[in-house]
């Protein structure tokens, strides 16, 4: 260890003084700096790029799904020849290919886009910068966490080229369809690769979450009490706890299914099971066990995919309403409440599964209760904007769209939580509409907002506001056009995961088919609109206007560092005096007060519940 490194260690360990000037000389080579980097900002950007590339892949899969649903069995121009069909089928999409499409669309979007973008990108980028740390607690573990992902990405992409094609048992991969190799073509080999991909993605998340928890507990700057942290950090902290506790269950379930498929175990296969007229196999396991284990992770995963968005949106709304966040501690408790209840609601995915219906009644009550903290958050966001001075930047518009669309996603969830009503709408397009209002209307709008908001800090340049707003308005319109009518066709009983619904009399009418065509046109336009975002993003990295340190006049610590922050972030570890929401403090010249500046005496004492410690 040379003197320079000793100074780093010193800066980390005792970085609690004002006089700790940190002159860091960066002498890493290209590979250390941009490829196998331990810098949390570089890792965040790596997650960002791979997440956006997979967003493109997952989006294209969705386009093919919408083609088949609007015009069942009609050959898709150009692509059907190239990708899946043969002249003997008249270039129609084979039905199993449709099942592969929705399976891979969901798996890619959930495990390779939304979770890595929210926790990987924003978790890595924001946590050290917003708590005033120079890096993560375990920088090398952080690097491994990213470099686990390429294995997952290769496995999931390679599965398209194996015999039988990629997995087609749905992203939920319920046995026996997923375990029995002859049940459907995708279960021959593709499912094994799917399991391997998810295992690597899970390990990546797990390493990340351990790092986030430790960093937030151990490396906060002086004065950064827990109840002074920005909501983004709070939400990422609670998300990391959720991941750390829920992921081991999914990991073990994935291993069990892998063993069932490859080693002849019978964790999820019942006594004397047989598929496709094969001789029966002794078996002895429990099919429903997989559903319990899977949802014990995957229901908290739904919150993993929304909580960071809620945190970021809270920060963005307070910044652009120029007003303190309404009810800071209640907002934190609401997130904690969602996370706590999130562990006892997994059974609501299984109301019709054959699980004991008395258990279903219990899960209905806990599921209803989890709507409560979500409602509290919505009211607090509205309260934050009420009486503010709203600046309509692209980031703010996307954050407001998050609130508006999350309301729809939250309310439609109540229908499914009610067990008798769920009997009718379970496994219909109603749930497809619901999940997309939460994951696209919620998470993706939050991601668009977050990227636009922190882009200047990430790349030192600003994104184009005009193109950003055009992208927003088109995305917002076509998003609603794509997904809202799913509630209607779902209420009418259109089942999900059907390659062709026109074989059923009650669905084979111009209204249902017409609505599906309308959704498909909207979906194609929604897909095209994303090109605007891609163009704006790539162009702005290279040629956007240079960003100042604090372009939005925001309060949290990352805006006190230069844009982009240098290696090790802060020359002097900042000292924090209050929470990040002191906007429009009376009697001041500027309408914001960075966390590093003390509150003026005329502002009076801060409300300890609503304003933070």
């Amino acid at each position: 260890m040379n003197a320079e490194h000793a100074a780093h260690a010193n800066g980390h360990g005792h970085g609690h003084g004002h006089d700790d000037h940190h002159h860091h000389e960066d002498n890493r080579n290209f590979i250390e700096r941009y490829v196998f980097s331990t810098d949390h900002k570089v890792i965040a950007i790596q997650f960002l790029f791979s997440g956006l590339i997979f967003f493109l892949i997952g989006g294209l899969l969705a386009m093919a799904i919408r083609w088949q649903l609007a015009w069942p069995w009609s050959p898709m121009p150009i692509l059907s020849k190239a990708l899946w069909s043969s002249p003997s089928l008249g270039y129609r999409m084979p039905p199993e290919y449709f099942n592969k499409l929705f399976t891979m669309h969901a798996s890619v979007m959930i495990f390779f886009v939304i979770i890595p973008l929210l926790t990987g990108t924003f978790g890595n980028f924001l946590i050290p910068l917003q708590i005033g740390a120079r890096d993560m607690a375990f920088p090398k573990l952080n690097m491994y966490s990213y470099w686990c992902m390429p294995f997952a990405m290769i496995a999931i992409l390679y599965s398209f080229y194996v015999e039988g094609g990629p997995a087609e048992a749905g992203w939920t991969s319920y046995p026996l369809l997923s375990v029995a190799k002859w049940a459907t073509p995708g279960s021959l080999n593709g499912q094994t690769w799917w399991l391997i991909a998810l295992l690597f993605a899970g390990v990546s998340s797990l390493m990340g979450s351990i790092n986030y928890i430790t960093t937030i507990i151990m490396l906060r700057a002086p004065g950064m009490k827990m109840f002074r942290m920005p909501m983004a950090v709070w939400s990422l902290f609670i998300t990391a706890i959720l991941q750390a506790f829920a992921l081991p269950v999914l990991t073990s379930a994935l291993v069990m299914q892998l063993l069932d498929r490859t080693a002849g175990t019978n964790f999820f296969t019942p006594t004397n099971w047989s598929v496709a007229n094969a001789p029966s196999i002794v078996g002895g396991g429990q099919t429903l066990m997989w559903q319990h284990l899977f949802w014990f992770y995957s229901h908290p995963a739904v919150y993993i995919m929304i909580l960071p968005g809620m945190g970021m949106v809270s920060d963005i709304i307070a910044t652009f309403a120029r007003k303190p966040l309404f009810g800071y501690k209640p907002m934190v408790f609401a997130i904690a409440g969602i996370a706590g209840l999130g562990f006892i609601v997994w059974g609501h995915h299984m109301f019709q599964s054959g699980m004991n219906p008395a258990l279903g009644a219990t899960f209905m009550l806990s599921t209803m209760m989890i709507a409560l903290p979500s409602a509290i958050k919505v009211f607090n966001w509205l309260g934050t904007m009420w009486g503010g001075r709203i600046q309509y930047t692209t980031a703010m518009l996307n954050a407001m769209a998050f609130v508006a669309m999350f309301i729809i996603g939250g309310l439609s969830g109540i229908f499914m939580a009610a067990t008798p009503v769920d009997m009718h709408i379970h496994d219909t397009y109603f749930i497809v509409g619901h999940i997309h209002y939460v994951l696209f209307g919620g998470s993706m709008f939050a991601i668009f907002a977050g990227i636009t908001f922190w882009f200047p800090k990430m790349f030192g340049r600003l994104m184009n506001e005009r193109i950003g707003k055009i992208h927003f308005i088109l995305t917002f319109i076509f998003f609603n056009g794509t997904f809202f009518l799913m509630h209607i066709v779902g209420m009418h009983g259109m089942p999900r995961r059907y390659a062709d619904y026109t074989g059923f009399q009650y669905l084979n009418n111009s209204a249902v088919i017409g609505m599906n065509q309308f959704m498909s046109y909207s979906a194609f336009l929604l897909g095209l609109t994303q090109l605007l975002f891609a163009g704006n993003f790539l162009y702005s990295i290279v040629a956007g206007p240079k960003a100042p340190a604090n372009p939005w006049h925001s309060n949290s610590l990352e805006w006190t560092a230069p844009s982009p922050p240098p290696h090790y972030n802060f020359e002097v570890i900042p000292t924090v005096y209050h929470a990040a929401y002191e906007y429009s403090v009376p009697g001041m010249d500027k309408d914001y007060l960075p966390q590093t500046e003390e509150r003026p005496p005329q502002a009076g004492p801060l409300d300890p519940v609503m304003g933070g410690d």
């Binding site: 303190p324 209760m369 409560l372 009211f379 904007m385 009420w386 009718h424």
Partner: protein
Amino acid sequence: MRYWSILFALAAVFSIGAFVYAPFSPDWWLPNSANEPYHAVSKFGREIDSLFLIILWITGIVFIGTQIALVWVSWKYIDKPGSVATYFHGSQRLEVIWTIIPAAILVFIALYQMGTWAEIKFRSSAPKVLPLAEVTARQFQWVIRYAGPDGKLHTTDDLHLVNDLHFVKSAEKLEKPALIWLQSGDVLHSFFLPQLRIKQDAVPGLKIPVWFDCDRAGQYELLCAELCGWGHYKMRSKVTVHENQADFDEWMQRKLSEQNQSQIAAVAQGGK
């Protein structure tokens, strides 16, 4: 640019409009028979529909309220010269109010649903009748074994059919739901009767009782609602509800005699 609020208002109007229009089109509304688009044919269906409507009203009112608030703040509180944002961190009284009221509503919704749920799914509320049939779901068909004239399953007079579910209409006073035993021959499936609002997964290794009634004779459809492989979308069965028991018995006799015709007899008949 306060006109951004119009965009949010448009989305809300579109959403509300879709649900306001839905009841006026039988192809948008809950699936019912074409002649009587607003009559759910089963007792459970009517209960489920009323519970659905209660939630639709409650969520609709909350939706309209929150969207009005959102559109209002985005119209009123915009950044213009001279405007100052309120320096206000929140109110504990408001937090308590908007915690307790939604909590009460949510608990009400949950408790209000319990009775119907128990009635449809709890084994203790299964009707005390002989089972109509044993339904085995397999890729990609519904194999139905009727109990036959003796009313007992697994006897020699059982009737075996594929994708053809028959039962008798429930009379006004004599409410006798049909009872089936549901099982799976291979992977997971789900027994979904959209017009009757019934759904139950068929699970390998489990035998699950399902009961339902229907007060209009006619033709309905049975779907598979749980992904079961490449042919999932075509796992369709006809459902026929007979006007009365005599009609049903006559149909069963006809089917039984078809079934009991030996192959040699069939060849002999064909040769004539």
